[in-house]
Symmetry: C2
């Protein structure tokens, strides 16, 4: 036998059991998005490289999967280019197209391209795979799904509130208890402003984040090491030791940032979102199943992407050790890169792969998730199969997922098939059943058997 | 403003209205597949080129989208290769991976790779996009979805019968009247055998297919032109003029093919499928809505793909002029290309793009297909919005797709938004409604307005 075929590293096959679970995740997110008035779009897997290049930094450009031009792909390329290493510049000559790297840039491209057809504010969601030539490792894939929702064309903070409600509702439906962390880029800018260290904001948030682990002295030492002067570190003390309720923290920050207009703006924004979210979720919590999310102001939340300009958020599962399972924020000029400035947007992205892992670890998949076969008719031969086929059709018409074993194989083999497939009911009709116009229905869990007419089968399985 | 961004030729963006319709198509096919015990899998967009190359003929190899290797893609490539035209051989050195071209080869790869985990017979379905570097033209795209179902590991013709039932059920649900054409490769082989012209079978079926248009004499002239000797053409006469019911045609063919063992086997197979399908669909047709498909033995059906070995089928819409909207057949050795011989399979593939066109032309989409917003709350300002938010949440909890306009924009602008989005209900609460603890609910279709409490809104919209 030849060598077993395989798939590219970092990619995955999804078998039937995994697919049922993944569909449950996507369907849940999709229906909540729709409930909030978001509408689905899809964009092509391939975008022009000119759309993608330069949007994810130099490193991102390297991680784009590029598609070799069809036909004579060497035409018009200078021979000198073809020596030495395969450079990014040469790649861009050999390839006009690339696979999408995320859903945000294609969405920005979509908005600009279709702007005449769109009614603003435009609320869209999109659930599609993306591809990145990252080094594959545990939990990091070269093909994975993103589940994004964005509103563009509205500055209102109500959008932020609604996105938090969506997060709350989705994880409530999953039964996953989460904490939503919220911060605001304007607050971070304000901090940098008051200590006069605009370029050190990442060092600062990273150091503050370590407070619990390494203690105050070590945090201050790290800040000094990062080149932050002593007087600035002094000013940072109330920020580093920020604690208490959301209201406490906001009050402290308001005092610290009193001289920074943009910083105070950030405080106002976070306060609005926290208050509105509390007002809206409090009554609806009554009498509802599931977790209920807490929303927490977290100054150490920075998020890597440079395009965020306002509120930013991230979601952590409370009962599983895993990174952020959802994130997002406001950006003020995403479509500017395609020549359409001044369009503000805010969005979130659910991390389907990590949510899959959390649901698995907590064993939270509902039983009904499976779309597997419910009933198998055993096949004893041509005459018996012909006798069974109308009953098979009737069961399907009643909505029961039904199979008839296609071959008249040995009984043992057919029962093994039912067991391996975890089919809960098996129907049999041999000579004696046929003589009576009936079927033997076997419950594979209890072993119980009963002799019944075809019309009773569906009713029994459904009950 | 910069030049509008665009997408690669032959690819498409799908907006919200198209997505709702496409999801309706995919969901319908998916639920019928599941009803018949087929289970969903997904495979990666990228396969190793070694998996794809040589499976679709020389032309197919050229139509594969190939992905440039990451990093130094020129490493190890002989400089001499880099002059002249970009050859397929060089492409295979620059690229290890390609985008899948169909779902059949990845499925065969999946079966071989996962054979230890699979219980045979394995019934899988798969709904994913495929990519082909074809010249784009009307109705032909470089990215399009396929919706395949296959059974592997069973020789039984019951599988063919069930696939015909699936076709019947899917188009019944769509409300599209169709004719399913069936033929068998063994019959075509038998015909070639009895006239001693094994290599002329395509010319023969093409010529026969023109009978209605050009008449018998011209068909015979074409056959002679194709190099078929007079005595063979003589033997073909009953085949060319084949007519009558399925039973008539089978009887004629049985006589013609009496000396061809394989030909008679093909007749038997078609007869079995026709009879069983008639037996199974006849009773279930009673009292059911929708079209009801006819199954017709059509000797001119050949289908291009070389891997078919038994029954082949194609579906035509009766009320729209369009090519085949579904097709499939039996293949006996698909996994042999990956070193796993002897596994027979049979499958079908629904053409989602053409079905989309047919449903559009016949205006057959059900009203409920839309997942658009049902209710918009107008936003008069911060206090009014805060008053509305609990009602918004309650409506969503009742399952109504609800939005609140995020900005306190002019009333006119908000109503224009509701109109453009075709939102059927708008709720308003200004000073007077708030004083009474109520909302004005406006039916955008009738113009009717009523003053009601928040708890009544959901009930009225749902009724």
């Amino acid at each position: 036998m030849a060598q077993k075929p395989s798939i590219p590293k970092g990619t995955r096959d999804f078998g039937p059991a995994e697919m049922a679970r993944r569909n449950y995740i996507f369907d849940t997110i999709r229906s909540v998005y729709a409930l909030y008035g978001f509408r689905q779009i899809e964009t092509p897997a391939m975008e022009n490289l000119s759309t993608l290049m330069g949007k994810y930094g130099e490193e991102g450009d390297k991680l784009l999967f590029k598609i070799l031009n069809s036909g004579d792909f060497l035409r018009g390329i200078d021979a000198n280019e073809l020596s030495g290493e395969g450079s990014p510049k040469l790649a861009a000559q050999l390839c006009e197209k690339g696979l999408r790297y995320d859903l945000t840039v294609p969405f920005a491209r979509y908005v600009v391209q279709h702007r005449e057809e769109l009614t603003l504010p435009f609320r869209r969601f999109q659930i599609q795979p993306v591809w990145r030539a990252d080094r594959p490792q545990k939990g990091r894939y070269r093909e994975f799904y993103q589940c994004d929702a964005d509103v563009v064309g509205s500055d209102s903070l109500l959008n932020e509130v609604e996105l938090m409600q969506i997060v709350d509702e989705v994880f409530r439906r999953f039964g996953i208890r989460v904490c939503i962390k919220i911060n605001n880029r304007k607050i971070l800018t304000g901090i940098a402003e008051i200590i006069g260290q605009a370029d050190k904001i990442v060092d600062i948030t990273v150091a503050i984040d370590k407070l619990d682990k390494i203690g105050l002295d070590n945090v201050n030492a790290e800040l000094a090491e990062a080149g932050i002067p002593a007087d600035a570190i002094e000013k940072l003390q109330p920020i580093i030791q920020l604690s208490g309720s959301n209201a406490d923290k906001l009050a402290t920050m308001r005092a610290v940032l009193k001289d920074s207009e943009i910083g105070l703006k950030g405080i106002d924004e976070v306060e609005f979102v926290l208050n509105q979210f509390a007002a809206v979720t409090a009554p609806s919590l009554q009498g509802r199943a599931g977790g209920g999310s807490s929303l927490e102001f977290d100054l150490t939340l920075a998020r890597g992407l440079n395009y965020y300009t306002g509120c930013i958020f991230e979601v952590k599962a409370l009962d599983v050790e895993i990174g952020s399972i959802t994130g997002g924020g406001r950006y003020d000029n995403l479509t500017g890169i395609f020549g359409m400035p001044g369009l503000s947007g805010v969005g979130i992205s659910f991390g389907a792969d990590r949510i899959y892992d959390v649901l698995n670890q907590l064993d939270l998949y509902p039983k009904e998730v499976s779309t597997a076969t419910q009933l198998l008719f055993v096949n004893f031969g041509e005459a018996e199969a012909a006798y069974a086929l109308p009953a098979v059709a009737a069961c399907r018409q009643a909505g029961i997922r039904t199979e008839i074993y296609p071959d008249a194989a040995k009984m043992k083999k057919q029962m093994q098939y039912a067991n391996a497939r975890e089919i809960p009911f098996v129907a049999l009709a041999g000579e004696s059943e046929m003589a009576e116009g009936k079927f033997t229905l076997k419950n594979m869990t209890t072993g119980e058997q009963q002799l019944i007419s075809a019309s009773e089968i569906a009713r029994i399985i459904q009950s």
